[in-house]
């Protein structure tokens, strides 16, 4: 295993190097540079453009810029953002990342849960009316034109019904006098989600060997208690109202993302389930007289989980780049919107930095997925 990990790490490093080079040259292949945006003001002396180019170092030969880029990336220094001058790229990314993580991790987790749950049922009731309805509606949503769907969701539930806010991640009027900034609330939300996940995982582990009815009761009580504690802590901290405001703003994008993406997991689960259902151990389980629900959830679904988990890990990794379209439509200033605006304004350090950040995340996710494979499936040995 150690040898395999070492080998994989070396491969990942090599891939990262190729990726860094590609990102740099592709981004730099764009015509013009950031100074173009200041060039066309007749009140501004022409030499200003050259000064800006000097300031940003964009008039250096490309190979020099490339060496600086590689060196900086491996030393964790992505440089200064042109469009947020004089803030560092790392600073901008760290500001945008929590917002994207909260939104997209939530949406990813929800869509996988929904997709997995539906996929199980669809596979179990194969050929039935439920399968056709779920598949058709799921695939329709999966292939829908995302900007249109997002705008329709806003129009329907925010604009016409007025139930939810139109875009953004907070209400400025509420936050005018807020004692905290939005990012600290986002960070606390991530921490809360992490703690709750640990608690839920722990509860499931502890109750796994107990009888079904008792285990379910214990799980419900434990999760309810944990939720109460979380709510109480948030209220006591005085920031609950701000977290609630963010949650309110999250509903529409999360629902939209979930609806758009759950079908992928659903179909993957269905296919994996159908393959597993043909295995002998399933027939053996049935022959033992186990209830159908137990056969489905404990024997088939668990074994069908492997490709779904892999897909989930990759989705979580890609969640850090946000959805360019979703973030733009819902005015959610996360990594996706940052990438777009950095590219449009020729903010090369920020664009490269954001791409590299996402790339590193995805490469790490591949490594994690490999390790998880071995953990989840004892048959796999490296």
């Amino acid at each position: 295993m150690a040898k395999y990990l070492l080998k994989r790490s070396a491969q990942i490093l090599a891939t990262l190097f190729v990726f860094l080079s590609l990102v740099f040259f592709i981004v730099n292949a764009q015509p013009g540079d950031v100074s173009n945006f200041y060039a066309l003001n007749p009140d501004v002396p022409p030499e200003t453009r050259e000064r800006l180019q000097d300031l940003f170092g964009v008039n250096e030969p490309l190979w020099k810029q490339y060496i600086v880029h590689i060196r900086n990336t491996f030393t964790g220094n992505f440089g200064i953002s042109f469009s947020h001058y004089p803030r560092s790229v790392a600073d901008v990314i760290m500001e945008r990342l929590p917002r994207t993580v909260v939104l997209f991790m939530t949406a990813t987790a929800l869509s996988f849960y929904l997709g997995f749950a539906l996929g199980k049922v669809v596979a179990w009731r194969r050929g039935g009316w439920f399968e056709y309805t779920s598949t058709v509606s799921g695939v329709t949503l999966y292939t829908v034109f995302t900007p249109w769907f997002g705008l329709m969701m806003i129009w329907l539930f925010a604009f016409k019904a007025g139930w939810l806010p139109i875009g953004k991640f907070l209400d400025p009027v509420l936050w005018r006098d807020a004692p905290v900034d939005a990012n600290s609330v986002f960070t606390r939300m991530i921490l809360t989600a992490f703690v709750v996940s640990i608690v839920v995982f722990g509860v499931f582990v502890v109750t796994a060997q107990r009888r079904m009815g008792r285990a379910r009761l214990m799980r419900i009580v434990s999760i309810a208690l944990a939720s109460l504690v979380v709510v109480a802590v948030w209220i006591a901290s005085g920031t609950a109202v701000f977290a609630w405001d963010i949650l309110r703003h999250m509903v529409l994008p999360v629902v939209t993302l979930t609806l758009i993406s759950f079908a992928g997991t659903m179909l993957l689960t269905r296919n994996s389930m159908l393959e597993t259902m043909r295995e002998d151990f399933v027939m053996a389980a049935r022959a033992k007289g186990l209830p159908e629900r137990d056969v489905r959830d404990k024997h088939v679904a668990r074994n069908a989980l492997l490709p779904v988990v892999t897909s989930f890990i990759f989705s979580l990794a890609f969640a850090v780049d946000g959805g360019v379209i979703t973030e733009s439509i819902f005015s959610w200033p996360g990594m996706g919107q940052t990438l777009v605006s950095a590219t449009l304004t020729e903010d090369l350090p920020l664009a490269v930095g954001a791409f590299v950040f996402v790339g590193v995340f995805v490469l790490i996710a591949h490594l994690v997925a490999d390790i998880l494979y071995a953990y989840l499936d004892p048959r796999i040995r490296y």
Binding site: V44, L52, E95, T133, I166, V173, R176
Partner: protein, 703 residues
């Protein structure tokens, strides 16, 4: 009764559909349709019969249609779409002016905004209420009026001081003007700002305001008196005079920053090393409690979400009543400070504008949206009162705003021009008749009115018509009001008069409405064939209007035998080409646009030969060089009287419209959407629209 799964799903689907329908029908200004859900009658286990009763509307929401109000002025038309159906409710809570922007400001550091990479229009909006200058433009009419100055400066005088000779002028500053932190503004603040620009060699707008080629120094004679020293000769020893663009509209417009806040910071900055590092250190400073002068102080910035400015309780101009008279007089008076002044004549006769300077709000909120679509949706939903649209309102957004009952659109002339430029270094574009022929065949009216449906306004002079005082309407207008046939005939005549010849001349149809036969084999006066030329223009994705124009220009030029190919490409590609070292050889024609200032010194910037890339690295990309024009343009820069400058600006426009280094094509109307049921502006008719007034933050009133 137990229903099967399909039956349950059917009922669920029905309920969802009904909910969606109900939601969709909410707030529609049309008869309300109430859809009632009735009990489901189950006949068999799987069959469900549904009955939907549509009731007759019981309620009808009435929209009061009001007549369209058209303020017919020379440049502006205010269109009232629909008046709100109800009286506006009083604003709850403290009055907050809520505006929408769809890009993040870059920095709050004024040095960075005015002279560094933070110089975006979005930064400009949020910093509008943070600074003041000695002089400024009056509202709406753009008269040159004192701001922090107590009166106009003394006339420029040639004076020998020590070993040197200078042009000097004195300015008396207003007394009692306080920064937002309570410190009194004095002449030292102005001197400090100028010296900082010099010491740190700041560029961009700072360099434009503090022109080191002219300005020698500024001295504080006492706490509120300034003396300005201009050089009498240029670097080569030639005599020079600081004209309006250098002094009145240059240094006079420079933002003044607080010495007591910035001096210690600048001291630290100067220790940073080389001049570039000093500049970086200055731009990197994040102001904390910076005193301001313009009516607002920074309050809070939540990146990606909003920025808030609070009202400055010490704002010197708050409560000033500004009155403008039909006879041209301008007067201002403030009971609180006792300040009173009248300029440009006697304050009597008809008043054309009167308002009280604010701020009339407690704070202003700039909400940041992901894109224009989201911002417009927020405006129509009532979340904000006004949206900044620096690139204009697209038709789709315009229609949406027009269909929203309590929104209004102010339509104004824009102070900008989009043009077709020639590289006049290369034949045949170096021949004036060729350029005139091109201008003649371009039917601006047809494209603007018929193709673009009045989204564009044809222009013939380099100063747009909206800039009334400086615009010369009496310039040569090639092709104006001509039929297609006449245009072609005249263009051919112009070409032939310059020595061009055809193998096959173009022929016009009998009715003169279209071309019957394209011209072929056009040869230049030296007998060589006219080479194929490229017209660089922005693609439709960046600017559909310019790309449309480019396609038509290509067609019309091809009709008369001029081989031109329109290359629709990215904005950056064009700018890159213009700034490239090979511009003189590679460039043929290009189509871009300029946003312009009120004072038309840009005419010199664009066309004086000293601004050719190969000479001075300036904006004269086409390499236009004409001694007569150069003299006139320098005359504009050194002119010290408004009337004299106007006369020169008129001559320059006429010269350019005849010689045509650019063919001015069109401008666009400036459209601003706002919510009159919640906010009120003292006026909405203004060149450049509300947007170029930065949303009138100091004047807006919350109802």
């Amino acid at each position: 009764m137990k229903l099967s799964l399909p039956a349950r799903l059917s009922i669920l689907a029905f309920a969802v559909s009904a909910t969606v329908l109900l939601v969709a029908c909410q707030d529609e200004p049309e008869p309300v349709t109430i859809i009632k859900e009735v009990p489901v009658e189950v006949i068999k286990e799987v069959e469900v019969e549904k009955e939907v009763i549509k009731e007759v509307p019981v309620e009808k929401e009435v929209i009061k249609e009001v007549e369209v109000e058209k303020v017919v002025e020379k440049i502006v038309e205010v269109e009232k779409v629909v008046e709100p159906t109800q009286e506006p409710e009083p604003a709850a809570g403290p009055p907050i002016y809520q505006m929408g922007i769809f890009e993040e400001p870059i920095s709050r550091n004024y040095w960075n905004y005015y002279g560094g990479p933070a110089g975006s229009v979005w930064t400009q909006y949020v910093l509008d209420g943070h600074s003041g200058s000695l002089y400024g433009y009056s509202d709406q009419r753009f008269d040159w009026v004192p701001g922090l100055a107590a009166d106009f400066p003394t006339d420029l005088t040639k004076e020998t001081v020590g070993d040197g000779e200078f042009w000097t002028a004195e300015v008396q500053m207003k007394t009692g003007v306080k920064w937002s932190d309570g410190h009194e503004l004095d002449a030292g603040d102005f001197v400090f700002t100028v010296n900082t620009v010099f010491d740190l060699q700041l560029s961009s707008n700072w360099a434009a305001a503090v022109d080191s080629a002219f300005l020698d120094r500024v001295e504080a004679l006492d706490s509120h008196t300034l003396k300005v020293f201009f050089k009498t000769t240029d670097a080569e020893g030639n005599p020079q005079t600081p004209g309006l663009s250098v002094w009145q509209f240059g240094l006079g417009f420079m933002p003044v920053l607080a010495e007591h806040y910035w001096a210690p910071i600048i001291e630290e900055v100067k220790k940073a090393g080389e001049i570039n590092q000093q500049q970086e250190a200055l731009f990197a400073h994040i102001p904390d409690g910076e005193p301001t002068l313009g009516g607002f102080t920074f309050s809070k910035w939540e990146p990606g979400a909003f920025l808030e400015n609070n009202t400055d309780p010490n704002f010197y101009n708050q409560g000033t009543v500004v009155t403008m008279y039909a006879n041209g007089a301008y007067s201002e008076s403030n009971e609180r400070t006792g300040h009173s002044a009248t300029y440009f004549g006697d304050a009597d006769g008809d008043k054309v504008l009167e308002y009280t300077v604010g701020p009339h709000v407690d704070s202003e909120l700039f909400s940041i949206y992901g894109n224009q679509d989201a911002a417009i949706l927020a405006l129509t939903n009532g979340d904000i009162d006004y949206v900044f649209n620096p690139l204009g309102l697209e038709k789709g957004f315009l229609d949406r705003v027009r269909s929203t009952p309590d929104l209004q659109i102010a339509t104004n002339a824009n102070n900008g021009v989009r043009y077709l430029g020639f590289n006049v270094r290369k034949p045949p574009m170096d021949i004036a008749e060729f350029r005139q022929a091109v201008a003649t065949v371009i039917d601006k009216e047809f494209v603007a009115r018929t193709v673009l449906q009045d989204a564009a306004i044809p222009v013939y002079a380099m100063v747009p018509e909206g800039n009334e005082f400086w615009h010369n309407s009496d310039v040569p207008k090639f092709g104006k009001d001509m039929s297609r046939g006449d245009r072609i005939s005249q263009a051919v005549e112009l070409l032939k008069s310059a020595g061009f010849t055809y193998e096959e001349e173009p022929e016009v149809s009998e009715d003169g409405a279209f071309i019957a036969k394209q011209g072929k084999g056009l040869k230049m006066p030296d007998g060589s064939p006219v080479p194929e030329m490229t017209l660089l223009a922005p693609s439709a994705g960046y600017d559909p209007m310019r790309s449309t124009f480019a396609i038509w220009v290509e067609r019309w030029l091809t009709d008369i035998g001029i081989p031109v190919r329109a290359q629709l490409t990215g904005f950056n590609v064009i700018v890159d080409e213009l700034f490239s070292d090979t511009v003189a050889d590679d460039l043929d024609m290009w189509m871009l646009g300029w946003g312009l200032s009120i004072f038309p010194d840009y005419l010199e910037n664009f066309f004086h030969s000293r601004h050719s890339p190969e000479i001075g690295g300036g904006y004269n990309w086409g390499g236009y060089a004409n001694n007569q024009f150069d003299d006139l343009a320098l005359g504009l820069l050194t002119e010290t009287t408004i009337e004299g400058a106007r006369d020169k600006a008129f001559q320059l426009q006429a010269f350019l419209a005849e010689d045509l280094p650019y063919v001015p094509l069109f401008t666009t109307p400036k459209l601003d959407a706002y919510r009159p049921s919640r906010i009120e502006f003292p006026y909405t008719s203004v060149l450049g629209g509300l947007e170029q007034q930065n949303g009138m933050q100091q004047e807006v009133v919350i109802k």
